[in-house]
């Protein structure tokens, strides 16, 4: 029998309701090690909620999530909730980069990266700083290690946030529209870092509206609408020849903006 490592994340039948509204309706997603999945779809389609369910920040109402083979949130063989401390330990194995710029403003760039290492991983400060500097170097911000967030551009702040997530050496990295809050000229540097991570086969799920990034970096595209996965395909097939009517309509609407840009003299 061939023994294979369990996938970093495997979710089946995820349902999430907010009041009467069903935001996620039976969504399943398994991400293989080293795979890059881009989730796209219109706003309100449940993309961000999916990430928040998968990281247990918003526990799902139904479904099963396994983090590297370990049942997330609930204890196996029953529906008993794990202790808060266990959930935190599990959550610390999932890296999360959010849409909003939410570095902690009272800590330097290095301080932001070190916080989880020192308080969650209980690493000595000197070692945590060494590791923090290495990860800041990875996102090209070693020189800004001792700068406070107020002195960093939005793009730099998001790169520090990526370093903060990477430093915890997570099983998987989640990106929730990491460039949506940025000025257009700052989007590129963040996508460059994410593209480099993708080429290094970092396991990632990226919710994004950046179609060209999804087309280039993703191994797989997940198109969501109204809380369901409508289409799942390789980028080539999804962007070149979408199977579903809804995918086609979404792409027409989204990509026509780019075509206008290209056509204008």
């Amino acid at each position: 029998m061939l023994m294979t490592a369990p996938p970093p994340i495997s979710a089946t039948g995820i349902v999430k309701r907010f009041g009467a509204a069903t935001v996620l309706d039976d969504v399943s997603l398994t991400v293989a090690r080293g795979e890059v999945v881009c989730v796209i779809g219109p706003s309100g389609s449940g993309k961000s909620t999916l990430l928040r369910c998968l990281s247990w920040l918003a526990p799902p109402d139904a479904g099963r999530i396994e983090l590297a083979g370990e049942r997330l949130g609930l204890v196996d063989g029953g529906e008993r909730l794990r202790s808060a401390a266990e959930i935190r330990r599990q959550r610390s194995r999932i890296g999360m980069v959010f849409q909003g710029l939410n570095l902690w403003p009272h800590l330097t760039a290095a301080g932001n990266v070190m916080e989880g290492l020192v308080t969650v991983r209980r690493m000595p400060k000197a070692k945590a700083r060494e590791l923090a500097l290495a990860h800041l170097d990875r996102v090209g911000l070693l020189a800004k290690a001792d700068a406070y967030p107020a002195r960093l551009s939005g793009g730099q702040q998001q790169r520090v946030a990526i370093a903060r997530a990477l430093a915890m050496e997570p099983e998987i990295l989640f990106f929730d529209e990491p460039t949506s809050a940025l000025d257009p000229e700052l989007v590129g540097e963040v996508l460059d870092v994410m593209g480099a991570l993708a080429r290094q086969h970092t396991t990632m799920v990226v919710v994004t509206h950046e179609m060209s990034f999804a087309a280039e970096a993703a191994d797989r595209i997940l198109f969501m609408d109204e809380g369901r996965v409508v289409e799942e395909a390789t980028p080539a097939s999804f962007f070149g020849n979408p199977r579903e009517e809804r995918s086609r309509r979404f792409l027409d609407r989204t990509l026509s903006r780019y075509r206008l840009l290209v056509r204008s003299p």
Binding site: L57, M96, N102, E115
Partner: protein, 218 residues
Amino acid sequence: MFDTELFLESVPTLADAALVTIRLTVVSGALGLLAGALSAAAQLSGVTALRILSRIYVSLMRGTPLFVQLLVVSFGLPMLGVSADPFLAAALAIGLNSGAYVTEILRAGVLAVPAGQIEAAAAVGLSPVRIWTRILLPQAFAISLPALAAELTIVLKSTPLASVVAVTEMTYSGVLIQSRAFSAIEVFVPIAVGYILIAQAILRGARHLEGRLARARA
């Protein structure tokens, strides 16, 4: 007529008593900050029992005179079998009283921290206690610094009430001299100046700290 001799005679006694006032202000202020931080955390914890407990504490402290609170604490503690030093009893009463106001000040400061930062901390795996001590309180403290400094000056001006439980702070020390010498002006003018100087030190210190925090984070 201003009795210069009495004035010069009183200064050393009043200076000693001023030290008691300063110590009482510092200890009460620290207790108030601690009580306020715990109570603000309880109120925003989402745990109903803690929230109610904090609300009761705040309404009790804000709804009764500090004078009565001082009497309750300093006569109540011995009844509970705790032999309380007057200074500590007074500091405890003034500190608990101030804590109710600090609760509201810090609560506003914590609510000013964007929710995304709390979510980011939870995503890294920080526990609720760590989120409070590492993320929320340091920022709430910086945001609330001017209001906290003002609260500390109110603590300073509450310390004369400690005389009711026999703490000889600056004002009471003046009362003792005045009742002996039958002269008020020579004693209470320097006392008033003393309070102004201490209050100025508090406000300037806070302004300085504020500037340093702002510069560090800029």
